[in-house]
């Protein structure tokens, strides 16, 4: 296994990680501030991808498609917050899970009704297609490099938003003590809608970015949702820093596991059996990672006890 391949796989892991971060950031923010488990987060990811595919199909512009994904996901996020989610904050987590699960069904059927059951076409814009030569002779996809860039920018932006701005201060205050902040005259319901829409927009952006290299189809959000839950459990529920660390850890572990495990097994097994066993184990690796983290840090890497 050459160094170049290893570095390329690390980049792939990083790209997968920042994509997961965009999903997990919203999920963890919503949980941290509102104490809500939102299973419908994956649906907002799907909404973003479909909005992007629809707008790209009509206008041919990828920039407009990205804006549409942000707008559509934020809008649907705000809409479900105002109509459904708002009623759930005081309820038990089981009620939240049930209601947001119902939202998954509504979104999936609604999307199927509007766009049909067959995958849509959304392609990488010409400007970002193809590969670039990185130092050291690594040929890497320009688009994936762009995803890494956008993901890190969003992460930096979120840190600034939360730590330096007034809204961020309120969000942090809301995490700590909901009653006190509303007693101080902050309109908590507006803040909640805002946080929910922000989380939704990030999920939508992630769906659109990934939709261009994957398949835009009904139900695309649920597998990612499960990974995003793994990420926030590893990172510590409610922590943005934890979401970033967890996402990159999961992304790199999964990618490296898929590459390295079959090679490791191949050193003492028949190649066909090694690929089969190695890839089976690779698909369990992130859950083993999660279990391992929870043994040593039961509240996750950055979670508060």
């Amino acid at each position: 296994m050459s160094t170049i391949l290893l570095i390329e796989q690390l980049l792939n892991g990083l790209q997968f990680g920042v994509m997961l971060f965009l999903m997990a950031a919203g999920l963890t923010l919503i949980f941290g501030v509102m104490g809500l488990i939102n299973l419908a987060h994956g649906s907002l990811y799907m909404v973003g991808a479909f909005a992007a595919a629809g707008v790209a199909g009509l206008t041919g512009s990828f920039a407009l498609a990205l804006i549409a994904s942000l707008a559509a996901a934020a809008m649907f996020g705000a809409l479900i917050e105002l109509t459904v989610i708002r009623r759930l904050y005081k309820r038990d987590h089981l009620d939240q899970v049930l209601a947001t699960f119902a939202l998954i069904l509504v979104f999936s059927e609604g999307t199927r009704w509007a766009f049909g059951s067959f995958p849509l076409f959304l392609n990488i814009p010409d400007m970002l297609s193809g590969t670039v030569m990185l130092p050291g002779g690594i040929e890497y996809s320009l688009y994936r490099l762009t995803i890494i860039g956008i993901g890190l920018l969003v992460a930096a932006g979120l840190f600034l938003l939360i730590s330096k701005t007034r809204v961020g201060m309120r969000i942090r205050a809301g995490e700590n003590d909901r009653e006190m902040i509303s007693a101080l005259g902050v309109d908590i319901s507006v803040l909640y809608t805002l946080v929910f829409a922000l989380g939704a927009a990030l999920a939508g952006l992630s769906g659109a970015l990934v939709g261009a290299i994957q398949s835009v189809e009904v139900g695309m959000g649920e597998p990612v949702l499960i990974l995003a839950f793994v990420v926030i459990v590893i990172g510590g529920i409610g922590s943005i820093k934890g979401a970033l660390a967890g996402a990159i850890l999961v992304g790199v572990t999964d990618t490296m596991g898929r590459t390295l495990l079959p090679v490791i097994f191949g050193s003492f097994m028949d190649p066909s059996a090694a690929t089969s066993v190695g890839s089976a184990l690779a698909s369990m690796l992130i859950y083993i990672l999660m279990a391992g983290v929870l043994v040593f840090k039961p509240t996750g890497l950055f979670g508060e006890a």
């Binding site: 170049i4 997968f16 996809s141 688009y143 398949s215 459990v233 066909s272 089969s276 698909s283």
Partner: protein, 390 residues
């Protein structure tokens, strides 16, 4: 801190999600007061939905065209989850008391459902999955596969790879029974070297790690079996990776649903199939035309298999009564229907003996589709038939 509770709830929620989905699937029925009840379990939601929907639509088209009002079809969605497929099968067999089961797309689901269904005296007509385990020693007198044995299309792809002069190919497939059959089938016919062999996760959507391995492997070509959304993701990412090695695959990686979503990236690619929309016979011409008229899209090979499965059942209904199982089985085995793929007959293990073609991806107007360029294997039968005691 209610952390533990949340993790517990999260796990519970995912389980509950599966259960609720299973309960929420509705049965659609066609026709009234039927003499023959057919239970169709197929994938109508999630990443593999396009395949199941095509099978269902092809099947229903044939039922409708037969004009028979004594067929009742119960359609259920398995969401590509084996545990849900098993629940649905129990429900169809025990409460609906169906006579015939059909519809399953994925081999891991087929293996979970078919042996128990046939053991309970039901007929199973497979419109897609044809796992090795059910073709050889595990064959059963009530199990008929009207599509292919899993290895077949991949064997033809292996043979094509030889004839194209490619001799160092990188092969990949999802890690589930049909994926293993795919690579086994390919390697059976392929004579060159393997630059690499990789199993991916079923339902995987990101192939960056595999594509990096292909780039580093020094291969001269790539063979991949990735049906549905997996194929779309792989092809888009491969096209963007800057690797320009030729790709070869079975029709599953280049079916009608995939081609529309990947666009020009697949143009010119060769793939192997037992069916194509340009096979020249009256049954096929009528099928393609009526399917397009009814559903507003071109049929895929899955739709053709659904259509043939229904026509096989309808042909047997004309000859025997379902209550006389032996006569009905003999009628099925005769396969006396006009298959859209032309010549069709069952081997001793009740899997097809048929021609497999090499197709090329072309563009017609703004629609991407396939056309036949040559015949890959003639009157091809699977290798496992010899192990079957029937």
């Amino acid at each position: 801190m209610n952390f533990k509770r949340i993790v517990k709830l999260g796990c519970g929620a995912l389980g509950a999600a599966a259960a609720v989905m299973a309960l929420s699937t509705a049965a659609i029925s066609e026709g009234h007061g039927g003499d023959v009840k057919i239970g169709m379990i197929t994938t109508l939601t999630g990443g593999g939905a396009g395949l199941g929907i095509d099978i269902r639509d092809g099947f229903m088209l044939a039922v409708e065209q037969s004009g028979k009002d004594n067929i009742e079809v119960f359609v259920e969605d398995d969401q590509r989850k084996p545990e849900i497929a098993v629940q649905l099968a129990d429900k169809l067999i025990q409460s609906e008391q169906v006579d015939i089961m059909t519809g399953i797309v994925w081999s891991n689901l087929a293996l979970a459902v078919i042996p128990s269904a046939t053991a309970q005296g039901k007929f199973y007509i497979s419109p897609n999955a044809g796992p090795t385990q059910l073709a050889g020693r595990g064959c059963h007198e009530n199990y008929f596969n009207v599509a292919w044995q899993n290895d077949n299309l991949h064997e033809a792809a292996g043979a094509y790879t030889n004839s194209a002069g490619l001799s160092n190919t990188f092969i990949l497939a999802p890690n589930y029974p049909a994926g293993q059959d795919a690579l086994t089938g390919f390697k059976r016919m392929y004579e060159g070297e393997l630059a690499g062999e990789v199993y991916t996760r079923l339902g995987q959507t990101d192939y960056a790690a595999e594509i990096a391995q292909i780039r580093a492997s020094g291969a001269d070509s790539v063979f991949f079996f990735l049906p549905g959304g997996m194929g779309i993701s792989f092809l888009k990412q491969y096209a963007d990776s800057g690797i320009d090695l030729p790709v070869v695959g079975p029709a599953f990686s280049f079916d009608q649903g995939i081609l529309q979503a990947v666009g020009a990236a697949a143009l010119g690619v060769k793939n192997t199939s037992q069916w194509s929309k340009d096979i020249d016979n009256a049954a096929n011409a009528a099928f393609v035309e009526t399917f397009e008229a009814k559903y507003g899209r071109l049929p895929s090979l899955y739709a053709s298999q659904g259509f043939d499965a229904a026509n096989l059942i309808i042909s047997a209904m004309g000859k025997a009564d379902i209550t006389d199982q032996d006569a009905f089985r003999a009628a099925l085995l005769e396969a006396d229907f006009d298959s859209v793929r032309g010549d069709f007959e069952f081997g001793n293990n009740q899997h097809p003996i048929q021609d497999i073609y090499v197709r090329e991806v072309i563009q017609e107007g703004d629609v991407f589709t396939n056309k036949i360029v040559s015949t890959g294997l003639t009157d091809h039968q699977d290798i496992y038939a010899a192990e079957c005691a029937l």
